[in-house]
C-alpha cells in the first residue's frame, strides 16, 4: 500500500496559541485518542495536519456527513468478476498502516456510525470487521483524532457520552487579536496594520454571536479577505465580500458590520 500519499511533505504553517503542541505530543506518546473542539475555521484541521507533520505520521482525513455509514469507515465487500473482493475503508487503512485517522466534524455522522470507533479508542485498540470475520489489532503508531464544533446548539448534533468519554480534549477558539494579526500577516503576507484592522472587524462580528449570528467571522474568512486584499482588491470591498456577505442574510447585522468596516477603514 502506498502510505506515502498520506504523508505531509512540507511544514504547514501553524501558530500555537498555548501549550497545545506539547500536550498533543504527550497524548500521542501515550496513543490516546484526541478530540479537538472549536468554532468553524479556527484552525482545528490545520493543527492536526501540523501535528501529523511534526510527528512524521501519515494522516488520513475523513470528512463526516449524515449519509455516512459504518461501512464507509470500515470497508465493504465489492462484487467483481470472480465473486467478491474486500475493500478497506479509511479507518481500517489507518489502523493497518499506523496513521493518524482524523474524523472531521464527527457530529455530522449518524450516531450508529460513530459507535464503530469504540473498540479502537479504549484499551483494546482493535477494529473488528464483522463482515470479513477479521479482527485487526491497531498498528502501534495508530491514533484516532476527531473534531467537532460545539456551537451548533442542536440537540441532534451532540456526541454521546459513551463516545465523548474516550478522548482527551483540546478546546480551540479564535486566537487573541494580536496573535490572530500575526497569523494573518504570516499566512498571507499582509502588513500588520491592515491585518490588525481585519481582526478588529472580526471582533465586531464575534461580539454579535448569539444576537442573530450563529458564528462570528472565522480566522479562515479573515485569511480569505487578506488574500483578496493582497491581490489588489480594495480593503472595504474585500471585507464586505469575504467577511460579511457569506456570514449572514440578516439586513440589520449586515448593515452593522458594513458600518464597522467603514469605520475601521477611514
Amino acid at each position: 500500500m502506498n502510505t506515502e500519499q498520506y504523508t505531509i511533505q512540507t511544514e504547514p504553517y501553524y501558530q500555537s496559541q498555548g501549550r497545545e503542541v506539547a500536550l498533543y505530543e504527550a497524548a500521542y506518546a501515550a496513543r490516546l485518542p484526541v478530540m479537538v473542539k472549536g468554532p468553524t475555521g479556527c484552525g482545528k484541521s490545520r493543527f492536526v495536519e501540523y501535528m501529523a507533520w511534526k510527528l512524521k505520521r501519515p494522516l488520513i482525513t475523513v470528512a463526516c456527513n449524515e449519509d455516512m455509514t459504518a461501512s464507509d469507515l470500515v470497508g465493504r465487500y465489492l462484487l467483481d468478476a470472480n465473486g467478491t473482493r474486500w475493500l478497506d475503508g479509511p479507518l481500517t487503512t489507518a489502523a493497518r498502516i499506523g496513521a493518524i485517522c482524523y474524523l472531521d466534524e464527527i457530529v455530522e455522522a449518524r450516531q450508529d456510525t460513530t459507535v464503530v470507533i469504540h473498540p479502537l479508542t479504549d484499551h483494546r485498540r482493535v477494529l473488528p470487521l464483522d463482515k470479513k470475520g477479521e479482527l485487526i489489532a491497531a498498528h502501534p503508531d495508530f491514533q484516532l483524532v476527531i473534531s467537532y464544533n460545539p456551537g451548533y446548539q442542536s440537540l441532534m448534533k451532540e456526541l454521546k457520552q459513551s463516545t465523548k468519554q474516550r478522548f482527551v480534549g483540546f478546546d480551540f477558539d479564535y486566537p487573541e487579536a494580536e496573535l490572530e494579526t500575526l497569523i494573518l500577516a504570516k499566512e498571507t503576507g499582509l502588513d500588520a496594520a491592515m491585518a490588525g484592522r481585519l481582526v478588529k472587524i472580526a471582533g465586531v462580528a464575534r461580539n454579535l454571536k448569539g444576537h442573530g449570528l450563529d458564528e462570528g467571522i472565522s480566522t479562515r474568512l479573515l485569511v480569505y479577505a487578506a488574500t483578496l486584499i493582497k491581490h489588489g482588491v480594495a480593503a472595504q470591498d474585500a471585507c464586505r465580500m469575504a467577511l460579511v456577505r457569506p456570514l449572514t442574510d440578516d439586513a440589520d447585522i449586515r448593515e452593522t458590520l458594513d458600518h464597522a468596516i467603514d469605520s475601521t477603514f477611514a
Binding site: T69, S71, V204, N207
Partner: protein, 765 residues
C-alpha cells in the same frame, strides 16, 4: 420691525388722519373702523410695503377689507394683515386667491370660527411648506378635513361646525415642523376617520392631547425613527463597543424651547426618538455617533467632584473631556472622525464680539473644533497653545479625566474675561448636539446626600400593583386606510371563575354513547402513521428503486450504493391546539326547538372535545373571550397547555358565562401569542363562535370583520392554522371573509357536541 409712534391720538376721529398722504389713501382703501387694526396699521403697512409689489399691496388691502366685512370682528383682519406680507414673500403673491377661496368656503359653512386660527398660523405654515404648490396641498387638506368633519342632520344640511378644525389649524405649525405634508395627511386622515362622530375625542386628537394622536404622530414623523432602527443600534453597541445596555428613547417632539439632550443613567442610554439627516450624515449615523460618545464616557471618564469648581470651570472641563473621549473613540474607529467633523459646528472666529457678549461658549466651541479638526483654521494664540498641549497630553496615551481637567482649568485661568459674566451669551454654532449632558461626570458631595433621602421617599409600595395581569395592547386593523391603529385594544387576561366540576362529569355521562363512538375514532387516530425510511443498509424490505440503481452502477464499473433496503417507523403526532370560545351575550339565547341555550350546548361540546383531546394526548388549551369596548377585551383562561382535564378545569368549564360583545381580532392575536410560544409541528387555533365580530363602540360592521381577517392572516404567518366553527346559520355572509375556507358552519346547533370533536379529529387526521 421699527416702531413708529403714532402722532395722531387714536379713536377720537371717525377717520384717522395719517401724516403721509399715501398712508391715508391706504387707510381709506382698507375701509374699516376697527380700533385694534388702527393701532397697528402703520406698522404692518411698513412691512407690506417692504415685501409686496405695488399690485400686491392693492390685492392685500382688498383682501383685508373683504375679511373685515365678514362680520367676525377685528381678529381675522388683524391676523391677515400681520400674516400675509411674510407669507407672500415665501409663497409668492399669486397664492392669495387660493387662500381667499378657502376663507370664503369657511365663511359659507358653519366653520367661520376657524378663519381666525387659519389666518393666525398662515405665516409659520407658509415658512414650513415653502412653495405655492405645497401650500395648495395644505389648503386642500384643510378643506377636505373641514368637509368631512362638519356635522349634518339627515344628510341634507351641514349644520354643526367641525369640532377639531380650529384646533388643528392652531396646531398646524407644530405639526408641520414634525411631519412632512404626506405625514400630516396620514395623521389627519386617521383622526378624521376614527373620531368623526366623537366631538370631544376629535378635539383631543387634533390638539395632540390623546395618546393615539401622539402615537400616530410619532409613526409619521420624518427622519430616522428610533423604533425602526432599535435592533440595528443594539447590534452596533454589542458589535462595535461590547456594550449591551438598554436603549431608552425620549420624545423630542414636545419640548420646543428646551430640547432634551442625550444622557445615560442606571436605566440605560437615553437617545431621542427620531433623528433627521443633517449635514450629510444620516439619522442612523447620528444615532451611532451619540451612542459612541456616551460609550466613550463610560469607558474613559472618571467621576469628578464638582463642588469646588465654578460653572464655567465645569463647562470647560466638560468640553475638554468630550474632546479627549472623542479622540480616543477615533483611535478605535477612525471612520468616526468624518462623522464627528460633519456634525460638529465650525464657529467663525470673529463671530462673537467680546466687548458686548459673553463669548465663553463660542471660545470653547472653537477650541473643541480645533482639538478634533487639524484643519480648523483658527489663529488665536491661546487656542493654538492649548490645542498643542492637548495633543501632547493625548500623545502619551489615554490621559485621564483628572489630567484633562487640570488642562481645562488652566485654560479657563488663561482666557477668562470680564464679559463672560454678561447675560447676553453667544449661542450660534456652539451647540454640539451629539454630545450627552455629562451628568455622569460630576459628583456633588452636598446635593447627593439630599438626593438619596428624597429617593427613599419616592419608593413605591409594590404590593399595590400585583393584582391581576396588566393588560396587553394589540393593534387593530383599519381596512379603510390599510393601516394598523397602534395599541388599540387592551386585553385583560384572567382566570375563569370556578364552578362545580361534577356538572361537567354528568354532561359527559349524558353523552356516553357519543363518547364511545369518539373513542373508536380516537384509537384509529393514535400515532400510527408509517413513514418510510430509505437508504438503509439493513432494513425490513428491499427498496427496489435503489437496488436497481446499485446494480446498474455495478455493471457499469462504478461503486454501487449498498443501502438498498428500507424500513419503516411510526410517526408521532405533534399538534398543539388552542380552543377559543366566544362568550358573548348572544350565547344566552335559546336554540330553536330546544330548551338549551347555545352556551349550554357549547359547554357540552367543549367538554367532549377536551375529553377527546386529553385521550389523544395533544397539548391543548381552552380560553374564553368577550369584550366591552376596545378598552376592555377579556380573555379568560379555562385550561392551559400544561393542565390536565381535571376537576379544576372542569370546574371552570362548568362556570362558563356569557355576556358583552365579540372583539375577535384582539382575542385571536392574544391566543396566538400563547400558541406561538409552543413548540409543535402544527399549531391549530380553533375559534368557536356564534356570530360575527362586533362591539358596542364600533359602528362600522366591516371594521371588526376585516380586523379579524387580518388577525387570521397575521397568525397564519406565524405558522398557526386557524379554523372557525360557527353556529350562526347566516354566517356565510362573513365567515369566509375572515377565515377563508377554514371554517364550518353548524346549522343544527343541537348536534354541536358530537360535531365539534368530529371536526377536530377530521382536521388533525
Amino acid at each position: 420691525m421699527t416702531e413708529i409712534p403714532l402722532i395722531v391720538p387714536i379713536g377720537t376721529l371717525p377717520v384717522t388722519e395719517y401724516q403721509h398722504p399715501l398712508m391715508q389713501a391706504y387707510w381709506v382703501q382698507l375701509d374699516t373702523q376697527f380700533k385694534p387694526v388702527e393701532e397697528v396699521f402703520e406698522a404692518v403697512m411698513e412691512e407690506a410695503l417692504a415685501l409686496l409689489t405695488r399690485a400686491g399691496i392693492k390685492d392685500y388691502l382688498d383682501a383685508a377689507r373683504l375679511i373685515g366685512k365678514l362680520g367676525r370682528g377685528a381678529e381675522p383682519m388683524l391676523a391677515f394683515l400681520e400674516a400675509w406680507p411674510s407669507a407672500a414673500s415665501t409663497l409668492g403673491e399669486a397664492a392669495l386667491p387660493e387662500i381667499m377661496a378657502v376663507i370664503d368656503k369657511m365663511q359659507r359653512s358653519p366653520n367661520s370660527k376657524a378663519i381666525t386660527p387659519f389666518l393666525q398660523t398662515l405665516a409659520p405654515v407658509a415658512r414650513s411648506v415653502q412653495t405655492q404648490a405645497q401650500m395648495q396641498h395644505y389648503l386642500a387638506l384643510t378643506l377636505d378635513f373641514m368637509e368631512r368633519t362638519t356635522g349634518s342632520i339627515h344628510g341634507h344640511h351641514t349644520t354643526f361646525p367641525s369640532p377639531g378644525l380650529p384646533d388643528f389649524l392652531l396646531q398646524a405649525p407644530f405639526l408641520l415642523s414634525q411631519l412632512s405634508l404626506g405625514g400630516l395627511k396620514n395623521w389627519v386622515e386617521y383622526g378624521v376617520r376614527n373620531y368623526r362622530s366623537h366631538p370631544e375625542r376629535q378635539i383631543d386628537y387634533f390638539t395632540v392631547q390623546s395618546a393615539d394622536s401622539r402615537a400616530v404622530l410619532q409613526r409619521e414623523r420624518h427622519g430616522t425613527l428610533f423604533m425602526d432602527v432599535e435592533r440595528r443600534l443594539d447590534l452596533y453597541l454589542r458589535g462595535l463597543w461590547q456594550d449591551s445596555d438598554q436603549l431608552v428613547p425620549y420624545s423630542s417632539a414636545y419640548d420646543e424651547i428646551r430640547k432634551p439632550i442625550p444622557y445615560y443613567d442606571k436605566l440605560g442610554l437615553r437617545v431621542p426618538d427620531v433623528f433627521d439627516d443633517r449635514a450629510g450624515v444620516t439619522g442612523m449615523d447620528r444615532y451611532r455617533v451619540v451612542l459612541a460618545h456616551m460609550i466613550g464616557h463610560r469607558r474613559w471618564t472618571t467621576t469628578q467632584v464638582a463642588d469646588n469648581w465654578s460653572p464655567f470651570q465645569r463647562m470647560a472641563v466638560e468640553f475638554f473631556e468630550d474632546c479627549r473621549v472623542e479622540t480616543l473613540l477615533c483611535r478605535e474607529y477612525p471612520g468616526l472622525h468624518r462623522l464627528l467633523l460633519a456634525l460638529h459646528p465650525h464657529p467663525v472666529e470673529a463671530a462673537c464680539d467680546p466687548l458686548t457678549t459673553s463669548c465663553l461658549r463660542h471660545r470653547l466651541a472653537m477650541l473643541s473644533r480645533a482639538l478634533l479638526d487639524p484643519q480648523h483654521g483658527y489663529h488665536d494664540a491661546d487656542l493654538l497653545d492649548f490645542t498643542a498641549r492637548f495633543h501632547a497630553l493625548m500623545a502619551e496615551g489615554e490621559a485621564s479625566t483628572g489630567a484633562i481637567a487640570t488642562l481645562a482649568l488652566s485654560y479657563v485661568a488663561r482666557t477668562r474675561r470680564q464679559t463672560d459674566q454678561l447675560a447676553k451669551v453667544h449661542f450660534d454654532d456652539t451647540v454640539i448636539d451629539y454630545r450627552d449632558d455629562n451628568r455622569q461626570m460630576w459628583r456633588f458631595i452636598e446635593e447627593d446626600d439630599e438626593g438619596e433621602i428624597a429617593d427613599q421617599h419616592r419608593k413605591m409600595d409594590k404590593s399595590e400593583e400585583l393584582k391581576g395581569l396588566p393588560p396587553r395592547h394589540y393593534p387593530e386593523w383599519d381596512y379603510q386606510s390599510q393601516t394598523y391603529r397602534p395599541d388599540w385594544a387592551s386585553v385583560y387576561e384572567g382566570l375563569h371563575p370556578s364552578g362545580n366540576a361534577g356538572d361537567i362529569d354528568s354532561l359527559l355521562q349524558k353523552h356516553g354513547a357519543l363518547a364511545k363512538r369518539l373513542k373508536k375514532m380516537l384509537d384509529l387516530l393514535k400515532p400510527q402513521d408509517k413513514v418510510r425510511i430509505r437508504y438503509q443498509e439493513e432494513g425490513s424490505e428491499l427498496d427496489l428503486d435503489v437496488a436497481l440503481r446499485s446494480l446498474i452502477d455495478f455493471k457499469g464499473g462504478a461503486q454501487p450504493d449498498t443501502r438498498i433496503n428500507m424500513s419503516h417507523r411510526t410517526d408521532g403526532r405533534d399538534i398543539a391546539v388552542l380552543l377559543l370560545v366566544d362568550l358573548s351575550e348572544s350565547l344566552n339565547e335559546k336554540v330553536a326547538g330546544s330548551e338549551q341555550t347555545i352556551l349550554e350546548l357549547s359547554q357540552e361540546a367543549v367538554s367532549l372535545l377536551a375529553w377527546a383531546i386529553e385521550h389523544l394526548g395533544d397539548p391543548f388549551a381552552i380560553a374564553g373571550f368577550h369584550s366591552n369596548t376596545r378598552h376592555e377585551v377579556r380573555y379568560q383562561h379555562i385550561k392551559g397547555f400544561s393542565e390536565h382535564f381535571d376537576d379544576t378545569v372542569k370546574g371552570r368549564l362548568a362556570a362558563m358565562q356569557a355576556g358583552y360583545s365579540t372583539r375577535m381580532g384582539a382575542a385571536i392575536r392574544h391566543a396566538a401569542h400563547y400558541l406561538g410560544g409552543k413548540k409543535a409541528d402544527k399549531k391549530l387555533l380553533l375559534v368557536l363562535t356564534d356570530g360575527q365580530p362586533a362591539d358596542v363602540d364600533v359602528h362600522d360592521e366591516r371594521l371588526l370583520i376585516e380586523d379579524a381577517r387580518q388577525a387570521v392572516k397575521e397568525v397564519d404567518r406565524e405558522g398557526i392554522f386557524t379554523y372557525c366553527i360557527n353556529l350562526d346559520p347566516k354566517a356565510d355572509e362573513y365567515v369566509a371573509d375572515i377565515f377563508g375556507r377554514q371554517y364550518s358552519v353548524i346549522d343544527n346547533i343541537q348536534r354541536l357536541p358530537e360535531r365539534l370533536p368530529e371536526l377536530f379529529l377530521a382536521l388533525t387526521k
